[in-house]
């Protein structure tokens, strides 16, 4: 499956089939410029359908981030399915090309495909916790906290890149509540938003509500 088909299945079915992306010499194959262009066109079209589900207006899409997120997800899925790739290749291809400037727009663009990261990490851990792929994915998870809500044992994450963006903060808070990820309550803004969202109805998120009930409001 090419990256073009991959993103389509990922977004619409949530089920993907991936072929190996490593050639006979063990080198990573890169998509052609035409494929890249087509991938971007499709991602932008899909994002138009996704956008109305968000609260407020998301930041503008950036091609670099959009493509990079899709490529990382594509590669990670491929490595998960095809286990014969050496760890150096995995680390090189997943960690050496991180977009340099991190802004709300970059976070949102990368997140469009990287939001599946928690599922990917769960699947990778199920295969083997020792797997170098798991390590790489956890590194990605720390770098992209918007996309990694619900991933356990990440430690503190830095959300300063997007926390001032209303739409992304709301998206983040929605994910914190949906996953019950109490580790993300350490940011005061997130804590306050989660409290606001749950209001009186702790049954909406019983686990988080217990944590909230133990933290006094002034904190």
């Amino acid at each position: 499956m090419t990256i073009v088909k991959f993103v389509e299945s990922l977004i619409f079915d949530g089920r993907v089939r991936v072929s190996t992306i490593v050639d006979a010499k063990g080198k990573i194959q890169s998509p052609s410029p035409a494929e890249i262009a087509e991938t971007l066109t499709r991602l932008r079209r899909y994002e138009e359908l996704y956008r109305p589900e968000l609260l407020g207006n998301p930041p503008g899409l950036l091609d670099d981030g959009l493509y990079w997120g899709a490529l990382m997800t594509y590669r990670a899925c491929s490595f998960l399915a095809h286990r014969d790739v050496d760890s150096k290749t995995i680390v090189d291809s997943l960690q050496k090309t991180v977009p340099p400037v991190v802004s709300p727009a970059v976070c949102y663009s990368v997140d469009f495909t990287c939001r599946f990261l928690p599922d990917l990490i769960r699947l990778a851990k199920a295969v083997s916790v020792e797997d170098p792929l798991v390590g790489c994915l956890l590194t990605l998870a720390r770098q992209w906290p918007l996309s990694s809500v619900g991933v356990p044992d990440l430690g503190g994450v830095d959300i300063s890149a997007f926390v001032r963006d209303d739409c992304l903060l709301a998206l983040y808070v929605d994910r914190v509540i949906a996953s019950g990820d109490a580790s993300r309550l350490d940011h005061p803004l997130v804590l306050s938003r989660v409290r606001t969202a749950i209001g009186l109805h702790s049954e909406l998120a019983p686990g988080l509500a217990q944590v909230l009930a133990s933290i006094s409001e002034s904190e």
Binding site: S192, T196, G199, P206, A209, L212, E217
Partner: protein, 400 residues
């Protein structure tokens, strides 16, 4: 189920049928207080009754003691009540011999049921001893220690505590219930029932001996709470989020009341509807309607199958009290008037208002209901100044 379990369940039912049931028939409009006396008795916890004088509080406890064939100690506390008056005087003869021994005959330390009227008159001289009785069921004086047979202490007052030392005393009463004059339309029944009680010279017959109550109290831990534990914790969290302070200690203890509700229905498994007891954990009058609304919402999930075995109090929806509703709306108004309430505070106010608004619909008197609805709308417009509240949306018209 082994035979012991069977006996325990049967005893629970007997208490309902042979003691509480006849009491409800004898005292008009006191079902609620009687049910609470029942759960506190089985749960071995203390009950606080809030209400004006002359509302049959003492008579209720006396009748309960009589129907259990138990010893009762009742006392009207004044600010000058001394320990001797409650616990008994020192034994004069032994005092001459140089011994400090309390003669407890006929006093609190010998009673199965203890009723302390005007509880909040308790002064510092008796406060500590009382706290020990309420907490640990022991009485210490000098070198003497009495383990008390007390099954339950009932405290009554016409007001709620304002100072801290009395708050500690109040805190030892796990459940609280109001005992008001019955509404005018039932006064006729009250008078008639009261008259026939006066005519009956004989004490009401014992329905269940106190020993059985002790067995029930000891069997409390055999009640399985597994089925309701998740819902119980969720409800406690909800109440805490709503600003009702429930300490962990109270949350643990209240489980005894849930178990007691099950036993009174002849069950050894607690079910969702047994959580009704949480309606009675208020600290002040303002909390009552809110707690009721929150607990009722959780009980709304009770299935029809379950309803046959449920405790009558869980199904007996309390009619909303317009005065208390008004106070609660005022409380929301006050919170919103504070300087820049946080989003979280506003969100909670919204949820509370939404719950209370629906309760206002059940107020019977048209004027009271309309007044409360107007207050609700004022609050909505404070919460959303840009949105006009819908003005009684019109519906279509196919006549039934």
């Amino acid at each position: 189920m082994n035979s012991m379990d069977g006996t325990i369940s049967a005893m629970g039912r007997q208490l309902s049928d042979l003691v509480l049931g006849p009491m409800k028939r004898g005292f008009v409009g006191k079902d609620e207080v009687i049910d609470l006396l029942g759960v506190c008795l089985v749960g071995g916890e203390n009950l606080f009754i809030l209400g004006p004088p002359g509302t049959a509080k003492t008579a209720l406890v006396q009748e309960l003691a009589s129907r259990l064939d138990g010893r009762m100690f009742d006392y009207l506390l004044t600010r000058f009540t001394e320990p001797n008056e409650l616990f008994g005087p020192f034994d004069i003869r032994r005092l001459r011999e140089g011994e400090l021994v309390t003669n407890t005959e006929g006093m609190l330390p010998r009673a199965d049921l203890v009723f302390l009227d005007e509880l909040l008159n308790a002064n510092s001289a008796i406060l500590n001893s009382l706290l020990m009785v309420l907490n640990e069921r022991v009485f210490r004086r000098g070198r003497e220690t009495f383990v008390l047979p007390t099954l339950m202490v009932i405290g009554a007052s016409n007001s709620l505590p304002e100072d801290e030392s009395l708050a500690a005393l109040f805190d030892r009463f796990l459940l609280r219930v109001r005992c008001d004059n019955v509404p005018d339309e039932r006064l006729q029944e009250v008078v008639t029932a009261g008259w026939s009680r006066e005519l009956t010279i004989a004490k009401p017959p014992a329905g269940l001996p106190v020993d059985c109550i002790r067995k029930l109290q000891n069997a409390l831990h055999t009640v399985s709470l597994d089925e309701v534990r998740t819902d119980y914790v969720a409800l406690i969290c909800r109440l805490r989020l709503a600003g009702i302070p429930i300490s962990d200690r109270r949350a643990v203890k209240l489980q005894r009341m849930v178990a007691a509700s099950a036993l009174l229905c002849g069950r050894q498994q607690a079910i969702l509807s047994d959580l009704w007891i949480l309606k009675y954990i208020w600290d002040n009058e303002e909390q009552q309607e809110l707690i009721t609304a929150i607990v009722n919402q959780s009980l709304a999930a009770v299935t029809v199958d379950e309803s046959t075995a449920r405790h009558p109090r869980s199904a007996d929806e309390q009619q909303p009290n317009p005065e208390i509703l008004s106070q609660e709306l005022q409380r929301i108004a006050n919170r919103l008037q504070q300087e820049a309430p946080s989003d979280a505070v506003r969100a909670r106010c919204r949820d509370e208002l939404s719950l209370l608004a629906s309760r206002c619909e059940w107020v019977k008197n048209d004027h009271q209901r309309e007044f409360l609805q107007q207050e609700v709308n004022k609050l909505w417009s404070i919460l959303d100044p840009t949105t006009d509240a819908p003005t009684n949306p019109e519906s279509g018209s196919s006549k039934t």
